[in-house]
């Protein structure tokens, strides 16, 4: 039957939710962090994979969101959800501004600019430590005052599901087509009637908003917030996760985040070696399977239950592979 893969995913999710209290606190934490990265990977995929805007400032937005929320809650005592909303709004706004500023920049220049942006944020948060507590770390209000991490699990799960629902809807709509068209050929997109500037700004605002969402959750989950959240190291990990999974689709991006996060934990005994190993996996993926390692699996999965002879609907790569590097 059509859409079998959706039912399978829903079933897996239901089972996960039902059995989660079997997990010990450690693995629950890993799962929560995986979902945190899932939101980041999906939103970065929207920006870089769909619209083609290779931004290295994504984690910086998570950082901005987190600090905004944490500081507002700390200084003005506002309820955490309000702080979180403010953090997200700040990121949307700032993201839109960055998107506007970057309108005339292409590929590498955009990457360099957003890298610069991320560095400025990190340096500022680090240096102005009378406000942000700098590298010593800002103590944040937790979202739940429970011993168990279970509420955080359910929250991050809900946030991830909601994020994917929204982003998935965008991607399957005409705006998804428009974003991909902008990535393919901006000039032809404009000639086809797409208001390219407007879309670039909007996608930056939306993607940054989701990064902010991840950031505000993180800020009120992890008890201490440091400027390294927005730093190059974590951004690099995000790129590794998303590209290894497959940066051009939401499910593969999230899958990459989950896979890398769980592997990082499973391979914890290898200590420092984990990161170079994933670096090599990234390089090999780019060289030989540029679409991402999970993409073929996902494409197969999506076809499950479909009769052989059915012509695929307006689907991407129907019957063919994207060209490889």
């Amino acid at each position: 039957m059509r859409g079998l893969h959706v039912y399978i995913l829903l079933a897996v999710a239901a089972v996960a939710l039902a059995c989660v209290d079997q997990l010990n606190s450690y693995w629950m934490h890993v799962a929560i962090i995986a979902m945190f990265y899932g939101i980041l990977a999906a939103s970065w995929s929207l920006l870089a994979g769909y619209a083609g805007l290779f931004s290295l400032g994504h984690m910086a937005f998570a950082s901005v969101g987190g600090y905004t929320s944490a500081l507002l809650v700390k200084w003005y005592g506002i309820p955490i959800p309000l702080g979180m909303a403010a953090g997200i709004a700040m990121c949307c706004l700032l993201g839109g501004v960055v998107g506007w500023v970057c309108l005339r920049m292409s590929g590498p220049y955009l990457a360099i600019f957003t890298l610069g942006f991320a560095e400025i944020i990190r340096i500022t948060f680090s240096t102005e430590d009378d406000v942000t507590a700098g590298m010593a770390g800002l103590h944040t209000e937790p979202l739940f005052h429970t011993v168990s991490r279970l509420p955080y699990f359910y929250t991050s799960f809900a946030l991830l599901a909601a994020s994917l629902a929204i982003m998935g809807w965008i991607v399957r709509s005409r705006w998804g087509l428009f974003l991909r068209a902008i990535r393919e050929d901006e000039q032809a997109a404009a000639a086809s009637g797409i208001a390219v500037a407007r879309f670039r700004i909007l996608v930056f605002a939306i993607a940054s908003g989701f990064a902010g969402l991840a950031g505000v959750f993180y800020a009120h989950y992890i008890p201490i917030l440091t400027p390294s959240l927005g730093g190059l190291d974590l951004m690099a990990v995000l790129v590794v996760m998303t590209v290894i999974g497959g940066m051009e689709r939401l499910p593969t991006a999230v899958g990459g985040a989950f896979a890398v996060e769980f592997l990082l934990e499973l391979l914890r005994e290898y200590g420092q070696w984990r990161l170079p190993i994933f670096g090599v996996i990234l390089l090999v993926t780019m060289r030989f399977a540029r679409n991402g390692l999970l993409t073929p699996i996902w494409l197969r999965f999506v076809r499950l239950g479909e009769p052989r002879s059915a012509a695929p609907p307006v689907a991407r790569d129907a019957g063919q592979e994207d060209s490889r590097a």
């Binding site: 005409r174 087509l177 428009f178 991909r180 068209a181 393919e184 050929d185 000039q187 032809a188 997109a189 404009a190 000639a191 086809s192 009637g193 797409i194 208001a195 390219v196 500037a197 012509a311 695929p312 307006v314 689907a315 991407r316 790569d317 129907a318 019957g319 063919q320 994207d322 060209s323």
Partner: protein, 241 residues
């Protein structure tokens, strides 16, 4: 020439690149129902003119006027929304999107458009262009000629009043070229206006009702093909190559 509605007008359009005038005060009107062949030696500024008339280039002097409205400086998508469609010298398609998706994109930019209706229109046009069987292929996997037809299809999805075709016959083998010519004529008969730029004189002469000749950034002739072909200035321009 036909006294019809004026669709697009170049009013003294100029563009210079580093001291050279790619277009020098060009005056040019496209009326509804025209089928204009825009010709001239290489470097005469034809593509620059098209770029300005379709919103891809800002003029340095003069105005672009669409249906009586001054529109210079508006972005390209605005022109597309106003019914001005164009193809590019080197086909610019959305390579890794399917043929059908390529057709859907321009259709879906129209206000109040519904996906189902747009998809139906797209499939109808694909039938018309003989591309229905490749609808699910990625655009980059099409042959050169099919790609040109797809570009034409994309223009049609905008429901354009006027189509600017930039060298549609370049590098196209004769059989496909004839097919293209036939399609253009059929579309013209059903009420679309065309401005076609090309060096393939045979094709241009077959379909054009009016020839506009450019040389060195200036318009040097504008009229029925027979008159233009014997115009002294035109002969001189081509001979001076």
């Amino acid at each position: 020439m036909s006294g019809g509605v004026e669709l697009v007008r170049a009013a003294g359009l100029s563009k210079h690149f580093g001291g050279i005038f790619a277009n020098d005060a060009v005056e040019f009107t496209v009326e509804e129902g025209d089928l204009i062949g825009l010709i001239g030696p290489n470097g005469s500024g034809k593509t620059t003119l098209i770029n300005m008339l379709t919103g891809h280039l800002m003029p340095d002097g003069g105005e672009v006027i669409l249906r009586g409205r001054r529109v210079s400086g508006r972005p390209a998508h605005f022109f597309a929304a106003m019914g001005v469609a164009r193809t590019f010298q080197l086909t610019q398609l959305f390579g890794r999107m399917t043929v059908l998706e390529n057709m859907l994109v321009p259709g879906l930019t129209r206000p109040h458009s519904h996906w189902h209706a747009v998809e139906k229109r797209a499939r109808d046009y694909l039938e018309f262009l003989n591309l229905a069987q490749v609808a699910s292929l990625n655009a980059k996997n099409l042959s050169g000629g099919q790609q040109r037809l797809l570009e034409l299809g994309r223009c049609l999805m905008l429901d354009p009043a006027v189509l600017f075709l930039d060298e549609p016959f370049a590098g196209v083998h004769p059989q496909l070229r004839d097919e293209l010519l036939k399609r253009i004529q059929e579309l013209h008969q059903s009420g679309r206006t065309f401005v076609v730029v090309d060096h393939d004189m045979e094709s241009i002469l077959r379909i054009s009702r009016r020839l506009v000749v450019m040389a060195r950034g200036r318009k040097i002739a504008d009229g029925p093909p027979d008159a233009v072909r014997t115009d002294q200035a035109v002969l001189a321009a081509y001979a001076g190559l």
